[in-house]
Symmetry: C2
Subunit: 219 residues, 2 copies
């Protein structure tokens, strides 16, 4: 760790750990939405339990970053790379929290059947997962164009949320049980909309890492 | 900056900046909920506009932390203090984002009257603001007991949210306009519930800073 080569090796390992965490987070969203679509309580419990593993990864990566910073006195560029990693893990962890929120919704709806098969929620989840993957690819490739493209995808996620909000409010009526389920499903849509926002944050950190400048991808 | 004394002075400044940011964030929640309770569109716009200032403070504090880490090679204890500051600003910024979410709800309900005066939402906001203040006091005093006490207060916030969820779902009925407003108000309750979670995060970072150990305050 005390040579320049050691430092760059540590940065490589850091990048590797971030990607591994990203893969776990994507999987968490996927499985959480699957648990909801199939009303699979066992799967939902698994997603909730696995969140601890993701939190643990976050702590490890953060500690690694702080140690790198303190031991290596990195210069401006490397300082930004490590600072970026610290921000990325926080956003990834929040995305995983939203996966947990979704899995908990499955648990809250335990014993109920869905009013109708889910269509827009899995679509939002696919878009949001793709955004997370794109953002991490942009990070690895230090690719600003990929990062910038996240803004448009986030607009799609936002549009789906707005559409769902309107539709769900229209479907509410005299049945309390139905209103309750609709409200829970709308919350899930909101969580996925937030996942999209976190993915644009990831893109913003990549742009900052490469250029040293901040850019708002979520206007 | 290159003497030990300079380092501790920098830590003092860092603490001062965090408290200043915390005050702005508390104010943002206060004004956002006030804008909603009074349907004050102008105030809501002000809250949204001021979020940029809070984001800017976050970036400044983060950059200061990274520079301190890189230039000063702090030892374990100070490393945790700076690492904690990095986490605290992120939670504070998310709390401010929720204040913005609430102010945007006021803007979305523009032209409407509230179905009934807000009671539980201001109560949740008061609890959540008090939690943020307690957490920052715990940080300044390095007071673990204060940090631990946040868990109970968060339970109160959670209980209010659960109560509101149930009541609001019961109030939904045949009027689409009313269902829409109720759904927006429930989202506001959810944002405040999240603010409570972020305040418990702040408490967790304080415990970590003082003891070097992680503790879950939000079970």
């Amino acid at each position: 760790m005390d040579t320049r080569k050691g430092f760059h090796q540590s940065l490589q390992e850091l990048q590797h750990d971030l990607l591994k965490m990203g893969t776990l987070v994507e999987e968490a969203i996927h499985l959480a939405v699957k648990s909801l679509a199939q009303m699979d309580q066992e799967l939902a419990e698994k997603v909730v339990a696995q969140d601890d593993q993701i939190d643990e990864m976050m702590l490890q990566i953060e500690n690694g970053c702080l140690r790198l910073l303190a031991l290596q006195q990195p210069m401006a560029g490397d300082l930004r790379v490590i600072g970026t990693a610290l921000k990325i893990v926080t956003d990834l962890e929040r995305i995983a929290d939203h996966a947990t929120d979704i899995a908990k919704t499955t648990l809250r709806l335990s014993g109920e059947s869905l009013i109708k098969p889910l269509i827009d929620i899995p679509r939002m989840a696919d878009l949001a997962k793709a955004m997370v993957r794109e953002a991490l690819t942009a990070y690895v490739e230090r690719n600003i164009d990929r990062a910038l493209a996240l803004a448009e995808k986030d607009d799609e996620v936002d549009a789906l949320y707005t559409k769902m909000f309107s539709e769900i409010v229209t479907m509410m009526g005299s049945s309390r049980a139905m209103n309750r389920q609709l409200t829970h499903l709308l919350m899930v849509a909101r969580y996925l909309e937030r996942v999209g926002d976190h993915a644009t944050n990831l893109g913003e950190w990549v742009i900052y890492m490469v250029t040293g400048k901040r850019q708002d991808l979520n206007k």
